[in-house]
Amino acid sequence: MNVITASSTKDTIQEVIQDINQQIGDFDTKMLLFFASSKFEPVSIAQEMQNAFGNATVFGCTTAGEITTGKMLKNSVVVMAFNSEIIGDVKIEILENLNESKNEINKAFVGFENHFGEPVQNMDFQKYVGLILIDGLSGAEEKVMDNLGDLTNVLFIGGSAGDDLKFQTTYVYANGKAYTNAALLALMKPNVKFSFIKTESFCSLSNPLVATKVNEAERTVIEFNNKPAVQAYAEALNIPVEKAANRFMRNPVGLMMDTEPYVRSPQQVKGDNLVFYCNILEGMELSLLESGDIIADTKQAIADTQQELGSISALISFNCILRTLELEQKGLMGEYGKIFSEIPTIGFSTYGEEYIGHLNQTATMLAFQ
Protein backbone atom coordinates (compact mmCIF):
# COMPACT_ATOMS: atom_id res chain seq x y z
CA MET A 1 0.00 0.00 0.00
CA ASN A 2 1.49 3.30 -1.10
CA VAL A 3 -0.97 5.65 0.56
CA ILE A 4 -2.80 5.73 3.86
CA THR A 5 -5.84 7.87 4.56
CA ALA A 6 -6.81 8.99 8.02
CA SER A 7 -9.43 11.26 9.52
CA SER A 8 -10.41 12.59 12.89
CA THR A 9 -13.45 14.36 14.28
CA LYS A 10 -11.88 14.95 17.69
CA ASP A 11 -12.29 18.40 19.21
CA THR A 12 -8.77 19.60 19.90
CA ILE A 13 -5.70 19.75 17.70
CA GLN A 14 -3.74 17.57 20.12
CA GLU A 15 -6.44 14.90 20.10
CA VAL A 16 -6.71 15.06 16.32
CA ILE A 17 -2.98 14.60 15.83
CA GLN A 18 -2.85 11.72 18.28
CA ASP A 19 -5.80 10.10 16.52
CA ILE A 20 -4.25 10.52 13.06
CA ASN A 21 -0.84 9.36 14.25
CA GLN A 22 -2.41 6.14 15.48
CA GLN A 23 -4.12 5.56 12.13
CA ILE A 24 -0.97 6.22 10.11
CA GLY A 25 1.28 4.22 12.41
CA ASP A 26 4.84 3.70 11.18
CA PHE A 27 4.01 4.30 7.50
CA ASP A 28 7.04 5.73 5.70
CA THR A 29 5.49 9.05 4.67
CA LYS A 30 7.12 11.09 1.91
CA MET A 31 4.30 13.63 1.50
CA LEU A 32 1.40 14.34 3.82
CA LEU A 33 -1.62 16.26 2.58
CA PHE A 34 -4.27 17.42 5.04
CA PHE A 35 -7.52 19.33 4.87
CA ALA A 36 -8.86 20.81 8.08
CA SER A 37 -12.06 22.45 9.18
CA SER A 38 -11.60 26.13 9.91
CA LYS A 39 -12.69 25.44 13.50
CA PHE A 40 -9.08 24.47 14.24
CA GLU A 41 -6.90 27.47 15.07
CA PRO A 42 -4.84 27.93 11.88
CA VAL A 43 -1.41 28.84 13.23
CA SER A 44 -1.49 26.00 15.74
CA ILE A 45 -2.68 23.29 13.39
CA ALA A 46 -0.10 24.26 10.76
CA GLN A 47 2.67 24.07 13.34
CA GLU A 48 1.44 20.93 15.09
CA MET A 49 0.93 18.98 11.86
CA GLN A 50 4.44 19.90 10.73
CA ASN A 51 5.89 18.91 14.12
CA ALA A 52 4.02 15.61 14.11
CA PHE A 53 5.07 14.58 10.61
CA GLY A 54 8.28 16.55 10.26
CA ASN A 55 10.12 14.05 8.10
CA ALA A 56 7.54 14.44 5.36
CA THR A 57 6.53 17.35 3.15
CA VAL A 58 3.40 18.49 4.99
CA PHE A 59 0.83 20.83 3.47
CA GLY A 60 -2.90 21.51 3.28
CA CYS A 61 -5.61 24.11 3.74
CA THR A 62 -8.85 25.04 5.46
CA THR A 63 -12.14 23.73 4.11
CA ALA A 64 -15.91 24.01 3.95
CA GLY A 65 -16.28 20.31 4.72
CA GLU A 66 -13.94 17.38 4.30
CA ILE A 67 -13.90 14.22 2.19
CA THR A 68 -12.20 10.96 3.05
CA THR A 69 -12.51 7.42 1.74
CA GLY A 70 -16.24 6.69 1.62
CA LYS A 71 -17.33 9.67 3.71
CA MET A 72 -18.24 13.36 3.62
CA LEU A 73 -17.34 14.96 6.95
CA LYS A 74 -17.66 18.27 8.78
CA ASN A 75 -15.53 19.82 11.53
CA SER A 76 -12.82 17.25 10.96
CA VAL A 77 -9.27 16.84 9.73
CA VAL A 78 -8.60 14.45 6.86
CA VAL A 79 -5.15 13.25 5.88
CA MET A 80 -3.51 11.33 3.07
CA ALA A 81 0.02 10.05 3.54
CA PHE A 82 1.97 9.08 0.40
CA ASN A 83 5.18 7.07 0.34
CA SER A 84 8.03 7.47 -2.13
CA GLU A 85 6.73 4.61 -4.28
CA ILE A 86 3.97 6.91 -5.46
CA ILE A 87 5.46 10.39 -5.01
CA GLY A 88 9.03 10.35 -6.26
CA ASP A 89 9.63 13.98 -5.42
CA VAL A 90 7.68 17.05 -4.37
CA LYS A 91 8.49 20.71 -3.82
CA ILE A 92 6.24 23.31 -2.22
CA GLU A 93 6.29 26.98 -3.08
CA ILE A 94 4.05 29.67 -1.58
CA LEU A 95 2.75 32.68 -3.49
CA GLU A 96 2.50 35.03 -0.55
CA ASN A 97 1.21 38.10 -2.35
CA LEU A 98 -1.59 37.31 -4.76
CA ASN A 99 -1.76 40.92 -5.89
CA GLU A 100 1.59 40.28 -7.59
CA SER A 101 0.85 36.78 -8.79
CA LYS A 102 3.02 36.86 -11.92
CA ASN A 103 6.15 37.86 -10.01
CA GLU A 104 5.33 35.37 -7.27
CA ILE A 105 4.91 32.56 -9.81
CA ASN A 106 8.22 33.51 -11.43
CA LYS A 107 9.91 33.21 -8.04
CA ALA A 108 8.17 29.90 -7.35
CA PHE A 109 9.28 28.53 -10.72
CA VAL A 110 12.90 29.37 -9.92
CA GLY A 111 12.46 27.41 -6.70
CA PHE A 112 11.09 24.46 -8.65
CA GLU A 113 13.91 24.67 -11.17
CA ASN A 114 16.51 24.69 -8.42
CA HIS A 115 14.89 21.67 -6.80
CA PHE A 116 14.16 19.51 -9.84
CA GLY A 117 17.10 20.59 -11.98
CA GLU A 118 15.09 21.65 -15.01
CA PRO A 119 13.01 24.70 -15.86
CA VAL A 120 9.27 24.26 -15.32
CA GLN A 121 8.82 25.60 -18.84
CA ASN A 122 10.56 22.50 -20.21
CA MET A 123 9.01 19.92 -17.90
CA ASP A 124 7.12 17.02 -19.41
CA PHE A 125 3.45 17.41 -18.51
CA GLN A 126 3.13 13.64 -18.35
CA LYS A 127 5.89 13.30 -15.74
CA TYR A 128 5.12 16.26 -13.50
CA VAL A 129 1.84 17.45 -11.99
CA GLY A 130 0.98 20.42 -9.84
CA LEU A 131 -1.46 20.87 -6.98
CA ILE A 132 -2.74 24.33 -6.15
CA LEU A 133 -4.45 25.32 -2.93
CA ILE A 134 -5.45 28.98 -2.88
CA ASP A 135 -7.15 31.45 -0.58
CA GLY A 136 -10.82 31.04 -1.48
CA LEU A 137 -11.70 34.61 -0.61
CA SER A 138 -8.87 36.28 -2.51
CA GLY A 139 -10.71 36.58 -5.82
CA ALA A 140 -7.33 35.95 -7.42
CA GLU A 141 -7.83 32.43 -8.74
CA GLU A 142 -8.44 33.38 -12.37
CA LYS A 143 -5.29 35.48 -12.59
CA VAL A 144 -3.09 32.90 -10.88
CA MET A 145 -4.36 30.04 -13.04
CA ASP A 146 -4.01 32.17 -16.16
CA ASN A 147 -0.42 33.07 -15.28
CA LEU A 148 0.45 29.44 -14.49
CA GLY A 149 -1.06 28.27 -17.76
CA ASP A 150 0.91 30.87 -19.70
CA LEU A 151 4.22 29.73 -18.26
CA THR A 152 4.01 25.95 -18.38
CA ASN A 153 2.27 23.00 -19.96
CA VAL A 154 2.43 21.16 -16.62
CA LEU A 155 -1.14 21.06 -15.35
CA PHE A 156 -2.07 22.39 -11.94
CA ILE A 157 -5.25 21.08 -10.34
CA GLY A 158 -6.74 22.01 -7.01
CA GLY A 159 -9.22 24.01 -5.04
CA SER A 160 -9.93 27.26 -3.26
CA ALA A 161 -9.68 26.95 0.51
CA GLY A 162 -12.88 27.38 2.50
CA ASP A 163 -13.85 28.45 6.00
CA ASP A 164 -17.03 26.46 6.72
CA LEU A 165 -19.24 29.07 5.01
CA LYS A 166 -18.23 31.89 7.37
CA PHE A 167 -16.64 33.78 4.43
CA GLN A 168 -14.12 35.52 6.69
CA THR A 169 -10.63 34.08 6.24
CA THR A 170 -9.16 31.02 4.59
CA TYR A 171 -5.67 29.59 4.97
CA VAL A 172 -3.20 27.38 3.16
CA TYR A 173 -0.72 25.42 5.24
CA ALA A 174 2.92 24.57 4.59
CA ASN A 175 6.32 24.80 6.25
CA GLY A 176 4.58 24.74 9.64
CA LYS A 177 2.90 28.06 8.86
CA ALA A 178 -0.59 29.30 7.98
CA TYR A 179 -0.81 31.70 5.06
CA THR A 180 -3.75 33.86 4.00
CA ASN A 181 -4.11 35.86 0.76
CA ALA A 182 -1.75 33.22 -0.55
CA ALA A 183 -1.57 30.21 -2.82
CA LEU A 184 0.35 27.00 -2.35
CA LEU A 185 1.87 25.26 -5.34
CA ALA A 186 3.00 21.67 -4.87
CA LEU A 187 4.91 20.40 -7.87
CA MET A 188 5.14 16.62 -7.83
CA LYS A 189 7.04 14.05 -9.82
CA PRO A 190 5.01 10.89 -9.28
CA ASN A 191 6.45 7.44 -9.85
CA VAL A 192 3.10 6.23 -11.17
CA LYS A 193 0.75 7.32 -13.92
CA PHE A 194 -1.79 9.96 -13.05
CA SER A 195 -4.92 11.40 -14.58
CA PHE A 196 -7.32 14.27 -14.10
CA ILE A 197 -11.04 14.25 -13.53
CA LYS A 198 -13.18 17.29 -14.15
CA THR A 199 -16.83 16.52 -13.67
CA GLU A 200 -19.88 18.69 -13.50
CA SER A 201 -23.48 17.67 -13.88
CA PHE A 202 -24.98 20.02 -16.39
CA CYS A 203 -26.35 19.98 -19.88
CA SER A 204 -26.41 22.97 -22.14
CA LEU A 205 -29.70 24.70 -22.96
CA SER A 206 -30.06 26.41 -26.29
CA ASN A 207 -30.05 30.00 -25.08
CA PRO A 208 -26.66 31.71 -25.52
CA LEU A 209 -25.86 34.67 -23.30
CA VAL A 210 -23.15 37.02 -24.57
CA ALA A 211 -21.55 39.19 -21.89
CA THR A 212 -21.76 42.60 -23.55
CA LYS A 213 -20.78 44.69 -20.52
CA VAL A 214 -18.86 43.48 -17.47
CA ASN A 215 -16.90 44.60 -14.44
CA GLU A 216 -14.19 41.97 -14.57
CA ALA A 217 -12.52 42.91 -11.30
CA GLU A 218 -15.81 42.59 -9.40
CA ARG A 219 -16.76 39.32 -11.18
CA THR A 220 -19.91 41.17 -12.28
CA VAL A 221 -21.87 41.02 -15.51
CA ILE A 222 -23.71 44.27 -16.17
CA GLU A 223 -25.29 43.27 -19.49
CA PHE A 224 -25.98 40.04 -21.34
CA ASN A 225 -27.10 40.40 -24.95
CA ASN A 226 -27.13 44.22 -24.49
CA LYS A 227 -29.82 43.93 -21.82
CA PRO A 228 -29.53 44.26 -18.03
CA ALA A 229 -27.86 41.02 -16.96
CA VAL A 230 -30.54 39.79 -14.58
CA GLN A 231 -33.29 40.56 -17.12
CA ALA A 232 -31.51 38.65 -19.89
CA TYR A 233 -30.87 35.71 -17.55
CA ALA A 234 -34.52 35.61 -16.46
CA GLU A 235 -35.77 35.91 -20.04
CA ALA A 236 -33.55 33.04 -21.13
CA LEU A 237 -35.18 30.90 -18.44
CA ASN A 238 -38.63 32.32 -19.15
CA ILE A 239 -39.12 33.31 -15.51
CA PRO A 240 -39.85 36.65 -13.77
CA VAL A 241 -36.77 38.68 -12.81
CA GLU A 242 -37.76 38.40 -9.12
CA LYS A 243 -37.29 34.64 -9.27
CA ALA A 244 -33.89 34.69 -10.99
CA ALA A 245 -31.89 34.13 -7.80
CA ASN A 246 -33.86 30.98 -7.01
CA ARG A 247 -32.46 29.36 -10.14
CA PHE A 248 -28.75 30.10 -9.69
CA MET A 249 -27.77 26.68 -8.40
CA ARG A 250 -29.87 24.81 -10.97
CA ASN A 251 -29.03 27.09 -13.91
CA PRO A 252 -25.51 28.50 -13.92
CA VAL A 253 -23.82 29.42 -17.19
CA GLY A 254 -20.87 27.82 -18.91
CA LEU A 255 -18.13 28.45 -21.42
CA MET A 256 -18.43 25.54 -23.81
CA MET A 257 -15.53 23.44 -25.07
CA ASP A 258 -17.45 21.31 -27.56
CA THR A 259 -20.16 19.86 -25.29
CA GLU A 260 -18.20 20.27 -22.05
CA PRO A 261 -18.99 23.31 -19.89
CA TYR A 262 -16.53 25.35 -17.85
CA VAL A 263 -19.07 26.50 -15.29
CA ARG A 264 -19.53 30.05 -14.00
CA SER A 265 -22.04 30.24 -11.15
CA PRO A 266 -24.12 33.32 -10.34
CA GLN A 267 -23.77 34.38 -6.72
CA GLN A 268 -26.22 37.25 -6.29
CA VAL A 269 -28.34 39.89 -7.99
CA LYS A 270 -26.96 43.38 -7.40
CA GLY A 271 -29.35 45.95 -8.85
CA ASP A 272 -29.70 44.87 -12.48
CA ASN A 273 -26.31 43.16 -12.42
CA LEU A 274 -25.33 39.56 -11.79
CA VAL A 275 -22.34 38.87 -9.56
CA PHE A 276 -20.60 35.55 -10.24
CA TYR A 277 -18.23 33.29 -8.27
CA CYS A 278 -15.89 33.44 -11.25
CA ASN A 279 -15.10 36.27 -13.61
CA ILE A 280 -16.62 36.56 -17.05
CA LEU A 281 -14.84 38.58 -19.71
CA GLU A 282 -16.54 41.02 -22.05
CA GLY A 283 -17.54 39.31 -25.30
CA MET A 284 -17.63 35.80 -23.83
CA GLU A 285 -20.47 33.68 -25.16
CA LEU A 286 -21.95 31.47 -22.47
CA SER A 287 -24.52 28.72 -22.52
CA LEU A 288 -27.26 28.54 -19.99
CA LEU A 289 -26.95 25.21 -18.16
CA GLU A 290 -29.41 22.85 -16.53
CA SER A 291 -28.35 20.70 -13.60
CA GLY A 292 -28.35 16.92 -13.81
CA ASP A 293 -27.49 13.95 -11.63
CA ILE A 294 -24.31 14.59 -9.63
CA ILE A 295 -24.14 11.04 -8.29
CA ALA A 296 -24.48 9.31 -11.67
CA ASP A 297 -22.13 11.70 -13.46
CA THR A 298 -19.45 11.46 -10.77
CA LYS A 299 -19.66 7.65 -10.72
CA GLN A 300 -19.22 7.63 -14.49
CA ALA A 301 -16.23 9.98 -14.33
CA ILE A 302 -14.54 7.79 -11.72
CA ALA A 303 -15.30 4.63 -13.70
CA ASP A 304 -13.83 6.16 -16.86
CA THR A 305 -10.63 7.05 -15.02
CA GLN A 306 -10.40 3.61 -13.41
CA GLN A 307 -10.61 2.14 -16.88
CA GLU A 308 -7.96 4.54 -18.18
CA LEU A 309 -5.48 3.85 -15.36
CA GLY A 310 -6.39 0.22 -14.69
CA SER A 311 -6.92 1.07 -11.04
CA ILE A 312 -6.76 4.15 -8.81
CA SER A 313 -4.47 3.90 -5.78
CA ALA A 314 -5.14 7.44 -4.53
CA LEU A 315 -7.59 10.21 -5.32
CA ILE A 316 -7.43 13.86 -4.32
CA SER A 317 -10.83 15.48 -4.74
CA PHE A 318 -11.84 19.15 -4.82
CA ASN A 319 -15.62 19.34 -4.66
CA CYS A 320 -17.43 22.64 -5.06
CA ILE A 321 -19.30 23.75 -1.95
CA LEU A 322 -22.34 24.37 -4.16
CA ARG A 323 -22.32 20.70 -5.15
CA THR A 324 -21.97 19.76 -1.48
CA LEU A 325 -24.91 22.02 -0.56
CA GLU A 326 -27.03 20.50 -3.32
CA LEU A 327 -26.14 16.99 -2.16
CA GLU A 328 -26.99 18.01 1.41
CA GLN A 329 -30.34 19.49 0.37
CA LYS A 330 -31.21 16.30 -1.49
CA GLY A 331 -30.03 14.04 1.34
CA LEU A 332 -27.34 12.53 -0.89
CA MET A 333 -24.19 13.20 1.14
CA GLY A 334 -23.88 9.56 2.20
CA GLU A 335 -24.45 8.28 -1.30
CA TYR A 336 -21.86 10.68 -2.72
CA GLY A 337 -19.32 9.60 -0.10
CA LYS A 338 -19.93 5.96 -1.01
CA ILE A 339 -18.74 6.63 -4.57
CA PHE A 340 -15.27 6.83 -3.05
CA SER A 341 -15.57 3.90 -0.66
CA GLU A 342 -13.32 1.58 -2.69
CA ILE A 343 -10.68 4.21 -3.50
CA PRO A 344 -8.27 5.79 -1.00
CA THR A 345 -9.55 9.37 -1.13
CA ILE A 346 -8.92 12.76 0.40
CA GLY A 347 -10.71 15.96 -0.47
CA PHE A 348 -12.67 18.94 0.67
CA SER A 349 -15.59 21.18 -0.19
CA THR A 350 -14.09 24.17 -1.94
CA TYR A 351 -14.88 27.80 -2.65
CA GLY A 352 -13.77 27.23 -6.25
CA GLU A 353 -12.09 24.56 -8.32
CA GLU A 354 -8.91 24.84 -10.30
CA TYR A 355 -8.09 22.95 -13.49
CA ILE A 356 -6.48 24.89 -16.35
CA GLY A 357 -8.60 27.79 -15.12
CA HIS A 358 -10.88 28.72 -12.24
CA LEU A 359 -14.22 26.88 -12.19
CA ASN A 360 -17.46 26.69 -10.25
CA GLN A 361 -19.94 23.89 -9.44
CA THR A 362 -17.39 21.33 -10.54
CA ALA A 363 -15.38 18.54 -8.97
CA THR A 364 -11.74 18.41 -10.00
CA MET A 365 -9.74 15.36 -8.99
CA LEU A 366 -6.23 14.05 -9.34
CA ALA A 367 -6.06 10.27 -9.63
CA PHE A 368 -2.91 8.19 -9.20
CA GLN A 369 -2.55 4.73 -10.69
Binding site: N103, K107, V110, Q121, F125, M145, M256, D258
Partner: protein, 89 residues
Amino acid sequence: MSGKIKKMIDTIIEQRSHGDSIIAGTVKIKLILKGINPDKFTQKSDDNPTIITKLKQIANDLGVDLYSGTTQQPPPKVSSSYQARSPRI
Protein backbone atom coordinates in the same frame (compact mmCIF):
# COMPACT_ATOMS: atom_id res chain seq x y z
CA MET B 1 -10.18 41.20 -45.12
CA SER B 2 -10.76 37.88 -43.46
CA GLY B 3 -9.01 34.81 -42.08
CA LYS B 4 -6.29 36.49 -40.02
CA ILE B 5 -7.80 35.55 -36.67
CA LYS B 6 -8.12 31.88 -37.59
CA LYS B 7 -4.49 31.89 -38.73
CA MET B 8 -3.32 33.50 -35.49
CA ILE B 9 -5.24 30.99 -33.39
CA ASP B 10 -3.85 28.06 -35.37
CA THR B 11 -0.32 29.41 -34.98
CA ILE B 12 -0.73 29.78 -31.21
CA ILE B 13 -2.04 26.24 -30.84
CA GLU B 14 0.59 24.73 -33.13
CA GLN B 15 3.56 26.51 -31.58
CA ARG B 16 2.52 25.99 -28.00
CA SER B 17 1.50 22.34 -28.36
CA HIS B 18 4.67 21.15 -30.13
CA GLY B 19 2.31 19.02 -32.20
CA ASP B 20 1.02 17.17 -29.12
CA SER B 21 -2.74 16.68 -29.40
CA ILE B 22 -3.28 16.63 -25.62
CA ILE B 23 -1.49 19.95 -25.16
CA ALA B 24 -3.33 21.34 -28.18
CA GLY B 25 -6.61 20.55 -26.40
CA THR B 26 -5.35 22.27 -23.27
CA VAL B 27 -4.30 25.35 -25.23
CA LYS B 28 -7.78 25.50 -26.77
CA ILE B 29 -9.29 25.52 -23.29
CA LYS B 30 -6.83 28.23 -22.20
CA LEU B 31 -7.92 30.34 -25.19
CA ILE B 32 -11.60 29.86 -24.32
CA LEU B 33 -10.93 30.90 -20.73
CA LYS B 34 -9.09 33.96 -22.05
CA GLY B 35 -12.18 34.89 -24.06
CA ILE B 36 -11.32 33.52 -27.51
CA ASN B 37 -13.22 30.44 -28.62
CA PRO B 38 -11.22 28.90 -31.49
CA ASP B 39 -14.29 27.12 -32.85
CA LYS B 40 -16.02 30.45 -33.49
CA PHE B 41 -13.51 31.54 -36.12
CA THR B 42 -13.01 30.32 -39.69
CA GLN B 43 -11.07 31.47 -42.77
CA LYS B 44 -14.11 33.60 -43.55
CA SER B 45 -14.21 35.44 -40.20
CA ASP B 46 -13.67 39.20 -40.47
CA ASP B 47 -10.32 40.59 -39.28
CA ASN B 48 -11.79 42.24 -36.19
CA PRO B 49 -9.02 44.55 -34.90
CA THR B 50 -10.11 44.24 -31.26
CA ILE B 51 -9.77 40.46 -31.38
CA ILE B 52 -6.49 40.67 -33.29
CA THR B 53 -5.05 42.94 -30.59
CA LYS B 54 -6.26 40.56 -27.91
CA LEU B 55 -4.68 37.59 -29.69
CA LYS B 56 -1.36 39.41 -30.00
CA GLN B 57 -1.36 39.88 -26.23
CA ILE B 58 -2.33 36.25 -25.64
CA ALA B 59 0.43 35.07 -27.99
CA ASN B 60 2.92 37.20 -26.10
CA ASP B 61 1.74 35.85 -22.73
CA LEU B 62 2.01 32.28 -24.03
CA GLY B 63 5.49 32.87 -25.43
CA VAL B 64 4.38 32.41 -29.02
CA ASP B 65 6.00 34.41 -31.82
CA LEU B 66 3.24 34.91 -34.35
CA TYR B 67 5.65 36.07 -37.04
CA SER B 68 8.68 33.83 -36.55
CA GLY B 69 7.68 31.28 -39.14
CA THR B 70 8.77 28.51 -36.76
CA THR B 71 6.27 25.95 -35.65
CA GLN B 72 7.42 24.93 -32.20
CA GLN B 73 8.11 27.17 -29.24
CA PRO B 74 8.50 26.28 -25.55
CA PRO B 75 6.46 28.24 -22.99
CA PRO B 76 7.94 31.65 -22.14
CA LYS B 77 10.91 31.83 -19.80
CA VAL B 78 10.50 33.34 -16.36
CA SER B 79 11.65 36.93 -16.08
CA SER B 80 15.36 37.53 -16.26
CA SER B 81 15.58 39.10 -12.81
CA TYR B 82 14.55 35.80 -11.29
CA GLN B 83 16.49 33.68 -13.77
CA ALA B 84 19.64 35.40 -12.60
CA ARG B 85 19.21 33.92 -9.15
CA SER B 86 19.15 30.36 -10.45
CA PRO B 87 22.32 28.41 -9.91
CA ARG B 88 23.82 26.66 -12.89
CA ILE B 89 22.75 23.06 -12.97
